[in-house]
């Protein structure tokens, strides 16, 4: 039995290693590129060749685009937005998944359809409205529109679908109120869904460019805008510095992912159900 298991494990390793290589090779090449001498052909670099040059590129990247400030600002509004998304989307997912009520189909349809219109189309009226509300270049201004995340509702609904109805029933019988059930029973069971949604939404918001660039001026500096400023085609920035900056920008979301994924736990155990 053990032999078969370890043989199987080895077999399954192969595709993982292949795809893992595909994932990491480009990033490794970029890393090597940053740590290469200026006289080398950047496009063909595979192995790092100059530690000092790489360090100087990283330092330049950090100082030119004020990456510390940009990371902080982006962290703040991303975290704030994600928190909002989790709360309102899980509530909405809860309502849509377990209950029937008049207008449910219509409301759900609206949510779905809103994912289908490209953002570029409604960005101008949205900007005008947020500006007229006096929220330009503020935390609320940048976050509130992004808190509406139909995708989050959609993801959470799929995770809820796996939950047995019997949980709800037994809680009801015990006299639990509508929102108590949500808070005490559904939410903890949706843990994996919530963590997944949190990580993915955080990533999307971190990488958002169009909306943050419009709505911010000098008070809030999103990192995507900071990066866009150095990759503008109108003037030259050292390619190695550009790469260094983007590798640095990749770190916070990656760390967040690793941190949160550790907390995704193995499935719902049978002992959770009250018979």
């Amino acid at each position: 039995m053990k032999n078969r298991k370890s043989r199987e494990r080895l077999l399954w390793m192969i595709p993982c290693v292949i795809w893992g290589f595909v994932c990491l090779f480009p990033i490794w090449v970029l890393f090597s590129g940053t740590f290469s001498r200026d006289s080398e052909n950047l496009v063909n670099v595979i192995f790092p060749s100059s530690f000092t040059n790489g360090i100087s590129k990283i330092v330049t990247a950090l100082t030119t685009i004020d990456i510390g400030r940009a990371t902080l600002d982006t962290m703040v509004y991303s975290a704030f937005t994600v928190l909002g998304i989790l709360i309102i989307s899980s509530l909405a997912a809860y309502e849509f998944s377990f209950f029937k009520f008049p207008g449910k189909k219509l409301l759900f349809g609206l949510v779905m359809v809103s994912m289908m219109l490209p953002q570029v189309l409604y960005i101008i009226p949205l900007y005008r409205m947020v500006y007229n509300m006096g929220l330009a270049d503020t935390l609320l201004g940048i976050s509130l529109p992004m808190m509406v995340a139909p995708l989050a509702v959609f993801i959470m609904m799929q995770f809820i679908e796996d939950l047995p109805q019997s949980f709800i029933e037994s809680a009801r019988i015990d006299g639990a109120g509508h929102f108590t059930i949500y808070w005490k029973i559904v939410l903890p069971l949706m843990r994996n869904g919530i963590l997944t949604t949190a990580v993915l939404m955080f990533m999307r918001i971190w990488g958002q460019y169009l909306w943050p660039s419009l709505i911010t001026a000098n008070k809030i500096k999103p990192i995507s805008v900071a990066i866009a400023n150095i990759i503008s085609p109108n003037y030259w920035v050292d390619s190695r510095v550009k790469i260094a900056a983007m590798l640095i920008a990749m770190l916070p979301p990656l760390l967040i992912y690793i941190f949160f994924q550790k907390r995704v736990i193995e499935g719902v155990t049978a002992s959770g159900i009250k018979e």
Binding site: I27, L91, S114, M116, M147, F179, G193, G267
Partner: protein
Amino acid sequence: MKKKEKQTQKKPRGSLKKEYLMNYLGLLPFFSLFLVFMLYPFVYGIAMSFTDWSVSSRGKVNFTGLANYKFILSGEGVSSERFLTSLKNLLIYVPVTLLIGMSIALMLALIINNLGRKGYGFFRGVFFTPYALPLFIGAGIWQWFMTPGTGRVSQLFAKIGIGVGVDWANTAIYAIFMVVLIDVWHATGFNFVILNAGTKDISPDLYDAAELDGATSWQKMRYITIPLLEPIIFMVVTYGFISALQVYDIPYILSSTTDANGIGGPGQVMLFPVMEMVRNVYLGSPSGLGRAAAEGVILMGIILLITLIQFRFRRKNV
């Protein structure tokens, strides 16, 4: 046990109304923000597709009915030709990228559970990294890999007879596949995370029971994991369609130039609908924004149709 039982209708009338109130209350936070920040601009955008909204409008638009739509679908005029070409490109792009991307993501999510704890943790992080890398540099590095003649990946392909001597980025069809390549590399991380979390939601008791019956990991996958993962797979595929039909970032980065007409590459080999919409927004031509809005609505219609078909298909088979 899988299907949700509908709420019993045995409750007396009064408490049903109260129940509905609770439902609406729960939906209130989402929908109040939705109404203000999404619905209003959304309806505004759709309404504008029936006008001659342009850069010169300054808030005063004239109702033109279906003029924008007629123009776009006619095939006459630069924007119309480009939009129709973009739809053709979409026809190739969407099925290919979804087929390849979803298969890989699903396969990875299933396989990774069979590795030991260390392998599992390591690869889970690895598979996600392409999604964490800013797309600009992600697309950029693949651009280098696909350089005509000297690019590593294009050379690899040439060795197995694909695209010999072809400039992928500037040649029809090959350009679309280049976008597929980068999209699969990048987006698989996203889909993998969701599917992986989904597999975690399946009770290990089921697997233990199957072990006792002597099931191999392949059989466990086929009879336990995949069926239970179905709702999540459905969601990932549905969203995959919605997202692929709105493809923008990757081809934009690859073909970005200072002139708006160059977006999408020479001969529009990698032009997609949303890119053409953006071009109309910035072009400043008469009814430019109205046309962009109409293009958006047409695209939305296509997406809606495909999504409805998927929901219908699922209801029939589940």
